[in-house]
Amino acid sequence: MDFTFTQDQTMMADVARDLLDAECPVSSLRALSAAGEARDAARWRKIVDLGLLGVLVPEAAGGLGLAEIDLVLIAEHCGYFGLPEPLVDTAGIALPLLAALPDVPRAAEALERTLAGESTVAIGHPGNPFVLDADAAGAILLPVDGALHLVDRADAKLTAQPSIDPFRKLFRVEAEPSAATLIADAEAAAPLLTQVFNRGALFAAAQLLGLARRSNDLAVAYAGERTQFGKPIGAYQAIKHHLATVQVKIEFARPVVYAAAAISPASGLHEEARISHAKLAAGEAADLSARTAVQVHGAMGYSWEVDVHYFLKRTLALSGAWGTPNDHRKRAAARVFGAPVGPEHTFTRGAAHG
């Protein structure tokens, strides 16, 4: 029992954070959205070169052979910096899925090309109505009737579904499944799709935790600068207490997200409830944090000019992606009412669904 990150884990996360700090300032988001773009190819190249995409890929397949807990801090930083490029979905969801199909040549090839930064793979899942980044991907993972297909982007019909978040390019994807596109039949696909959903929810939670921290950092900074009635507004107790309340939410989402990562990958009743708890807690923290940041910024918070809205919108989008709060409350309830509860079960694993 040791609920601390290893030195390796924090070092790798620090490297990622430093890269994002240097390469993903809000000015770059502002420039991208002004240009109507959603991706910065140069930044993506640097991320690829850092080798972060293969964290969850076995060493035999060219990755680092690590686990979710090794990626969770990096996903949190991606949320914090509002990274538009698909590092989290690629490293956290798509590649471990492809790596789980080593005997499927097309999957292995897509894995290799993605690891090399030559292409990306977009992920369709019944839990999400649309596919993110399908236009920029070389191939799209597409569940059809429970089976899993990998279709070339060129063979798919994409219908853009504009999101409030300028960096989330969503699409309805239609494609003709065939024996050629099949990479896992329904039986083989079922556990993989479960893992995809759990990883999606886990890493969305990690990003939401980062978003929560970012919005509060922005609000704290502004509250220290902005003066009204002769003193910084951060000296007023009302503002202090708003920000402290957000901080409490953050502090109690954090260990849940990390604990969920520490027990991944997994699919028991306990583990799924913890992942859902992480998504709920981080989502609530991020939501309250973003709204509080708007409020602390006053009218500025409602303007495009101030940075808050980028994180508010990402928060809104990720709150509904990979399971809504409603979906995740249901999974938490399934565990509470379907398995023993009590202090001796904090770290219990497994248990089939009731």
């Binding site: 649309f130 009204q228 918070g301 409602y302 303007s303 409603n326």
Partner: protein, 387 residues
């Protein structure tokens, strides 16, 4: 106490309902904050309303009104929102400046400004805030220097709603250069196309431009444009802000219609969401209902000679928090589709909920933040000591 409408009130409701059914545009007008075309379409609608003498039913007949009381005003608003009629592009004029003109304006000022306000010829922007004077409105630095029969205005206004396209603005200016805080301010009206006025639109969170910055560089206006006595601008402005926070600007009907839409949205998706969402829908309806009852009670009291006090602050907090809760409930029902813009092909019934949610976040901020409102309630209503 009698909570039934009189036959006259019922007849009035029938009249406005019939007129709206005949006149409300079939398709929604484009937003007045998004384009000049949308702005002008709303100006035309104001003219249509005025032609039917429905512009401001509480105004005296000589300014195009019907001289009716606040209960009829509430009935008008109920029917207006129920019919989905266009938002009022001239709300800064008709709801804020208009009543102030009637209270503080000279007969000449009323004659000059009210008819053109009523028929939409002149659309008004407000210009309260300055970069360093938001919640702390008394920190205003913009000045008005008297030169003969004119004032020369200079300064920097911000968060001026409608100012991107409007014709006129009104705001506070320091007429006594030696004055501080609330003293030595005057309320002055100025044309937005006057030489020396530069407008800088402020894009909002949703990409629209409901606000602008105004840079005033030696803008010359006649002293006639000062409303109220010189140096009394703060008192005049507080009366106006009281109206703004209070009765007129946030009609209960607006929230009741939103609650109605929420109920319909929920009914379509009730099998997708759990009991917390159901309870939130019912709560939204109850809150909108409570707000309506409260405003009817205030209107009845005002009609009987009462005055609005700190309850303007109470109302502000209630409707702004209710609005956010209501919009959040809608997003909870929409689930993963909540992030979609209405133009998305698969948007389904996302309608304008997302935009309304973002707009609702401005509720606790504008017209005095809710923090300021709570201070006011604590100090003026509950009598707690000032810090």
């Amino acid at each position: 106490m009698n909570l039934d409408y009189t036959p006259e009130q019922q007849a009035f409701r029938a009249d406005i309902r019939a007129w709206l059914e005949a006149n409300v545009p079939a398709a929604p007008l484009p937003s007045f904050d998004a384009s000049r075309a949308g702005f002008e379409a709303h100006r035309a609608w104001e003219r249509t309303l005025n032609d039917g003498r429905w512009g401001m039913v509480t105004w005296p007949t000589n300014y195009g009104g019907r001289g009716l009381d606040l209960i009829e005003w509430l009935i008008f608003e109920e029917e207006y929102y129920r019919a989905g009629a266009p938002l009022r592009v001239n709300q800064n004029g008709i709801f804020l400046l208009g009543p102030t003109l009637m209270e503080y304006g000279t007969p000449e000022q009323r004659a000059r400004f009210l008819p053109a306000m009523a028929n939409g010829e002149e659309i008004w922007a407000q210009a309260w805030s300055e970069p360093q004077a938001g919640s702390d409105l008394a920190a205003i630095r913009s000045k008005a220097v008297r030169e003969g029969d004119d004032y020369v205005l200079s300064g920097h206004k911000i968060w001026s709603s409608r100012a991107a396209f409007a014709d006129w603005g009104f705001g506070l200016f320091r007429t006594d250069p030696a004055s501080e805080r609330h003293k030595g301010l005057s309320l002055i009206l100025f044309p937005l196309d006057a030489p020396g006025v530069r407008r800088q639109p402020i894009p909002q969170i949703n990409g629209e431009i409901g606000f602008a910055e105004l840079f005033l560089d030696e803008v010359r206006v006649p002293a006639f444009n000062r409303l109220g006595e010189e140096g009394q601008g703060w008192a005049v402005c507080m009366a106006t802000a009281g109206f703004e926070r209070g009765l007129m600007l946030r009609s209960p009907a607006r929230f009741q219609v939103a609650a109605h839409m929420l109920v319909e949205l929920y009914k379509r998706h009730q099998h997708e969401v759990d009991g917390t969402v159901r309870a939130a829908v019912v709560q939204a309806w109850m809150d909108a209902d409570a707000y309506a009852l409260s405003i009817y009670a205030t209107a009845s009291r005002l009609r009987a000679g009462g005055h609005i006090g700190a309850e303007a602050s109470v109302n502000k907090i209630f409707w702004s928090e209710m609005d956010i809760a209501l919009q959040r409930t809608a997003l909870a029902i929409l689930g993963a589709r909540a992030e979609l813009l209405p133009v998305a092909p698969d948007a389904g019934d996302v309608d304008g909920w997302l935009d309304s949610y973002l707009f609702s976040l401005a509720g606790p901020i504008y017209a005095g933040t809710n923090e300021i409102q709570r201070n006011i309630i604590a100090e003026r209503m509950l009598g707690l000591p000032r810090a």
